[in-house]
């Protein structure tokens, strides 16, 4: 069974995100009031071929822990869709 994994990698809450701050500043400069807490992250898609969804999730999370996210500064979340 093939699954499409949609992965979001974001900076941990405790970590200052200067990029997000700069974007937030630009948004406010453009005149959009009431926009705040801008945080930047990464979006990654990959296909994974496994017997079942649990197994696909396990592999995808392993990939995230080992490569796609650095646990010192980042969190990740995985959404799986059957293809």
């Amino acid at each position: 069974m093939a699954y499409l994994a949609r992965i979001r990698v974001t900076l941990r809450k405790s970590i200052l995100d200067p990029q997000g701050k700069a974007v937030e500043h630009a948004v406010l400069t453009l005149g959009f009031a009431g926009v705040s807490h801008v945080r930047m992250g990464k979006y990654i898609e990959l296909c994974v071929d496994r017997q079942d969804k649990n197994e696909a999730r396990r592999v995808t999370e392993d990939v995230c822990k080992k490569l796609l996210a650095n646990p010192v500064m980042e969190d990740f979340s995985v959404e799986l869709e059957e293809l």
Binding site: P18, L68, M73
Partner: protein
């Protein structure tokens, strides 16, 4: 070692761009042996010390240093470091070392979001490492930085450990040696510019000592990192800590005389 010469191995990743500078300093300025180690190689060719040079390995894709860590040569570097071998990571090399788990923490985007390329002052916080024995305690070195992601960060528990074990080797400071916010070029935690691992055989630093080593450039502060390593390798090979001590005091004495 080959005769009296120390053999430096400089790892070359796709995207390394300070590899030749490091090679030039080792070979032409300090007159030691130096070899390039391509990232696909699986043999360190008997080098005494490994240098992970600056640059943008694998285009800084994903995160700086994240991909380089998985290259074949890095498996050998990790093994070498585990056996106590000397590993010096400069700039991107430092980023690779934290990604590889050889050093704790992480290097975030500069707080200014700008790539910063300039001379900075560094205060030598620990002169009891194999990378800094040629420095005086608290010595202020002038060495350039050139990076966009040099903002050192780690959690409180790790920071405590770094302090307790004296693993913080360099801090950004002003010309008088004060570690102020103004003297911090990238927002780095506690002005940290360079750290060693607990065993003291792996150093990562954002500043570029190889860019401050050729007398033609009128600043040779960076040489002290390389000559410290050389002295360490030589004394290790003759297996006499006593010799190290006497060589050190001779060297210190000479420098006092030189003024």
């Amino acid at each position: 070692m080959d005769g009296a010469k120390v053999k430096f191995g400089i790892v070359v990743f796709p995207g390394s761009n300070c590899d030749h500078d490091a090679y030039y300093v080792c070979k032409k300025i300090l007159l030691q042996e130096a070899v390039f180690l391509w990232h696909k190689e699986t043999d360190l060719r008997g080098v005494d010390a490994v240098i992970l040079p600056g640059g943008f390995s694998y285009g800084d894709y994903l995160r700086c240093g994240a991909i380089a860590r998985f290259s074949p040569i890095m498996q050998q570097v990790i093994r070498f470091a585990g056996e106590g071998g000397t590993v010096l990571g400069i700039c991107n090399g430092f980023q690779i070392l934290v990604e590889a788990g050889l050093l704790p923490g992480v290097l975030l985007r500069n707080s200014s979001l700008n790539f910063v390329c300039k001379y900075v002052h560094l205060r030598t916080e620990n002169v009891e490492t194999r990378f800094t024995r040629q420095c005086q305690p608290g010595e202020i070195l002038s060495i350039p930085i050139a990076h966009g992601d040099g903002n050192y960060f780690t959690d409180d528990a790790t920071l405590q450990r770094l302090r307790q074990n004296n693993q913080i080797v360099f801090r950004y400071c002003d010309a008088q040696g004060n570690c102020t916010d103004e003297a911090n070029p990238n927002g780095s935690l506690e002005n940290i510019a360079g750290i060693v691992n607990e065993q003291g055989n792996v150093l990562g630093m954002m500043p570029h000592p190889e860019r401050a080593s050729d007398p033609v450039l009128r600043n040779t502060d960076g040489q002290k990192i390389f000559t410290s390593v050389m002295r360490d390798v030589v004394t290790r090979s003759i297996g006499l800590e006593v010799a190290d001590q006497s060589l050190m005091s001779a060297e210190r004495g000479r420098r006092y005389v030189d003024g």
